[in-house]
């Protein structure tokens, strides 16, 4: 069985962000990049499945050459190979274009099961994996916290407000993963050495039978801005019950957070 895991290279959210003077792009020179955290859980789930049932795990990403760094991390966790969609036209796509390119990539490797993080932590759009499912006419479940394979059927739990429900999906299927599902392993040193030798194939949009024009975004980016910083310290005095009550009051009445 072939499992594709869609992973994205994103800025570490602990980085210091700045917006370029054009107000349309983020300054990248001081950013540290990592694999989107939800994607790490997706990779882990695929490797667990491989260990239990045997499978070929291919990590698929779209991005610049440097995206290979996070793909290597996935390979060092235990994935078998990588496929990077890169080159002309790939840097200006919106979720729609990315999904079309990735759908073509997934199709080219013939994956029966596709895992992805429930969203990427940079743009939080939660669209790509869902669109891939639509484009490939695969079954789909999002925000999954438990996954089992039962013959040709996937049985998953989804978190919903105040509970969870269980779904059965026929394969092929696209599953997006929520954090609680597993604990991603750390790459081991022996696997880091092995990862170096695992293949990462590269494909351009043209290789996938697509064109940059056809994938051009249908939306226009107006501007980017940083959230307004408004830090205040508030130290609450008193014994513990009184402090808890006061904290709840503040959160409700002043911060309107509850």
């Amino acid at each position: 069985m072939k499992i594709a895991v869609l992973i994205k290279r994103v800025p570490d959210t602990a980085s210091v962000f700045a917006i370029n003077p054009d107000q349309k792009s983020v300054a990248t020179d001081k950013l540290k990049f990592v694999m989107s955290p939800y994607d790490e859980h997706a990779v882990e789930e695929a490797i667990k499945l491989k260990e239990a049932n045997g499978a070929d795990v291919v990590v698929v990403s779209l991005g610049p050459d440097s995206a290979k760094e996070v793909m290597r991390t996935a390979l060092a966790m235990g994935a078998d190979e990588g496929l990077l969609v890169t080159g002309a036209g790939t840097d200006s796509l919106t979720s729609k274009g990315v999904a079309e390119a990735l759908a073509a990539a997934v199709k080219s490797i013939g994956a029966e099961l596709v895992f992805a993080g429930k969203q990427a932590v940079d743009d939080d759009a939660s669209q790509v994996a869902e669109r891939v499912a639509e484009l490939l006419e695969m079954a789909h479940a999002s925000v999954v916290t438990k996954f089992e394979l039962n013959g040709g059927t996937a049985v998953v739990n989804r978190e919903i407000e105040g509970g969870s429900y269980t779904l059965e999906l026929p394969l092929p299927a696209v599953i997006t993963i929520e954090k609680g599902i597993n604990t991603p392993r750390y790459p081991t040193l022996p696997n880091i050495m092995k990862a170096k030798k695992k293949p990462i194939a590269e494909k351009s949009l043209a290789d996938l039978g697509l064109s940059a024009e056809a994938l051009a975004p249908g939306v226009v980016l107006e501007s980017l801005s940083l959230p307004r910083q408004n830090r205040r310290n508030h130290i609450i005095d008193g014994d513990t019950p009184a402090r808890v009550n006061e904290l709840i009051r503040l959160l409700k009445e002043e911060e309107k957070a509850l």
């Binding site: 020179d29 991390t73 750390y186 790459p187 081991t188 040193l189 880091i192 050495m193 170096k196």
Partner: protein
């Protein structure tokens, strides 16, 4: 708690821009490596340090170890750390492929070890102790011993220690009384070892003790010491009569089992000779030299974590206003705005950056010594390592304690309280000036052995290195003053060495050696000044080439300049004392105390 334990930008600067770790891949031994493997190991190491080792730092100190019915139990969570290191291959990142290692250069593994030590030395020491014992066997073991022990130690299946110290023999190992008596193919070991790190624990199936002991009729003193392998359980699984008599209650490193071990209480402890008879101390020194530098790593790592905590705290804590502010109702300033606080932070930054640079330089030297096939290059690396080892041990540890003292001072009263980790960091760091040979012993090693060694050959090799750095720095206008300052201290060290050398030649050994500690302090300022100059040169070149990373490189240059202007002059003043033939400590009679 700050989750930043080290400045990774600076670490990468040292690895790639100063010591060019990638150049080591030219050697056959490291040929499988590349920036990619280095980066992944570094990233994973730092992640483990932050996510696995660091969260246990304060809880381990509070819980400590448990000793009951002759057995040690480590604090809750230690088993998980051991397991992560075992699964991740962290017991043997640098070992040969043949023994299950990955042949990473020492320059890289010293860095990951630094990161683990930034986070939790008590915990990481259990792992390091196993690897240390393995190193001895790899170097001196027979093929059979290697086959029996190495894979187990390097995989974390077994733990390890090093057993030198006895109640009556610490600094003076020549006075050990543990004995080894030959008996059908093995030796019977009897004696008490004290202060043994990772001496007993519940983390592994077995613990392998390399033990210093004396054969019957061995010559007195250090020439009569042999080295034995003494496992807690023999290879056939029988208990080998190695009993844990107790554990120490310590100022710091409280999650470490510092144990007293009784070998052969029931006269049934077997040991196997490692290396040649009566050459045990020499063998042990193969480990000790590395362990001394590693003590420097532990110390500077602690100072790094404390500095990062202090830096964060001083940016957040509001107190007072700038001296020039006349409005008492103006908002209070973050304390990092106060010049005295900035002075304390700068001192710490200069300490950590300069000393880490020295430590990574020694790591690179040991890679070259190990992997190079060019004899002259190997010999040069060997000489530099010899003379820099006491500095890496003693200066790094004394300086780290001082650096953390300032980190704690930055916190004010909060620093004295255990809620913040910095008080523990100060406690934990104290031992580095004591174990692996006290700093007093290191100073005597520098002045008594390393400086006069082979007619001053090592010192000459060092002076040549420093001179090359000075010449390169001089070519850059903004570094001229700094280069001059390093040259001044270098000339002064040379002068003082001649002066003391004359005293030594005159036969007044006591007078010569009573200057050793001050000499080491002065000498260290030359070495650290040189490291700063080297970093400033690379940083200035990057700035001149128009690098975008201006804040970082400017910080490196200004930190170096701070060190040259503030620390080197103090070291120059030590020369006045050293040349004055001051001898009160020698002549002061005991009755006057």
């Amino acid at each position: 708690m700050s989750d930043r334990l080290a400045d990774m930008r600076h670490i990468r600067f040292l690895l790639y821009e100063i010591f060019d770790v990638e150049s080591l891949t030219q050697y056959e031994h490291f040929a499988d490596h590349s920036k990619e493997t280095f980066e992944m190991a570094l990233e994973t190491g730092y992640k483990l340090a932050r996510e696995v080792f660091w969260p246990a730092y304060q809880p381990f100190d509070r819980e400590g170890i448990h000793f009951k019915d002759g057995h040690v139990t480590t604090p809750a969570g230690m088993k998980e750390i051991w397991k992560q290191c075992k699964e991740g291959g962290w017991f043997a990142p640098g070992a040969d492929y043949d023994y299950g290692g990955q042949q990473f250069p020492h320059l890289l593994t010293a860095t990951t070890s630094y990161l683990f030590n930034c986070a939790n030395t008590s915990a990481y020491m259990y792992v390091g102790s196993a690897a240390g014992a393995a190193l001895l066997i790899e170097k001196y073991g027979t093929d059979e011993q290697k086959a029996e022990y190495l894979e187990k130690l390097y995989s974390g299946t077994w733990g390890g220690t090093m057993c030198l110290t006895e109640p009556q023999a610490g600094s003076s190992l020549g006075d050990i009384t543990t004995t080894a008596v030959p008996e059908n193919g093995h030796f019977k070991i009897r004696g008490v070892k004290r202060f043994i790190s990772s001496g007993d624990h519940d983390l592994a199936e077995n613990i392998v003790h390399p033990v210093l002991a004396k054969l019957p009729g061995a010559p007195p003193g250090v020439k009569g010491i042999s080295l034995f392998l003494v496992p807690k359980y023999r290879l056939d699984g029988t208990y080998n009569d190695v009993a844990t008599a107790g554990v120490e209650h310590k100022l710091g490193l409280r999650a470490q089992a510092t144990a007293t071990l009784n070998f052969g209480e029931k006269d049934d402890c077997h040991g196997w000779l490692l290396g040649a008879e009566n050459r045990g101390l020499e063998c042990m020194f193969a480990l000790m030299n590395g362990a001394r530098i590693h003590t420097g790593i532990q110390a500077v790592a602690g100072a790094s974590a404390a500095y990062q905590c202090a830096l964060q705290y001083t940016q957040e804590r509001l107190q007072g206003r700038s001296v020039s502010s006349k409005d008492p109702s103006a908002e209070q300033a973050a304390i990092i705005k106060h010049p005295d606080v900035r002075r304390m932070l700068l001192h710490q930054k200069a300490f950590v950056e300069g000393n880490l640079s020295l430590l990574l330089f020694t790591a690179k030297l040991s890679d070259i010594r190990h992997a190079s096939t060019d004899e002259a290059e190997q010999q040069r690396a060997h000489l530099l390592l010899e003379i820099l080892t006491p500095i890496a041990k003693a200066h790094c540890s004394d300086g780290a304690f001082e650096s953390i003292r300032l980190a704690l001072q930055c916190y004010g009263g909060a620093g004295f309280c255990e809620e913040f980790p910095v008080a523990q960091m100060l406690r934990d760091n104290k031992v580095y000036s004591i174990y692996e040979g006290t700093n007093g012993i290191q100073a005597m090693d520098l002045l008594g052995r390393k400086v006069p060694m082979n007619g001053g050959e090592a010192l000459r090799a060092l002076i040549q290195e420093i001179s090359e750095t000075i010449d390169a720095a001089r070519k850059l206008e903004p570094l001229k003053e700094m280069a001059q300052s390093v040259e001044d201290i270098q000339n002064t060290v040379a002068e003082v060495t001649m002066h003391l050398g004359a005293i030594g030649m005159s036969g007044d050994r006591e007078m010569y050696i009573c200057n050793a500690s001050d000499y080491l302090d002065m000498f260290s300022a030359m070495v650290i000044g040189w490291q700063h100059l080297q970093m400033a040169t690379a940083a200035q070149k990057a700035l001149d080439a128009g690098s975008d990373d201006k804040d970082f490189y400017t910080g490196v240059v200004k930190t170096a300049s701070y060190y040259c202007r503030r620390s080197i002059p103090k070291a120059l003043a030590i020369a006045t004392i050293l040349k004055s033939n001051e001898r009160t400590a020698l002549d002061y009679e005991e009755a006057w105390f």
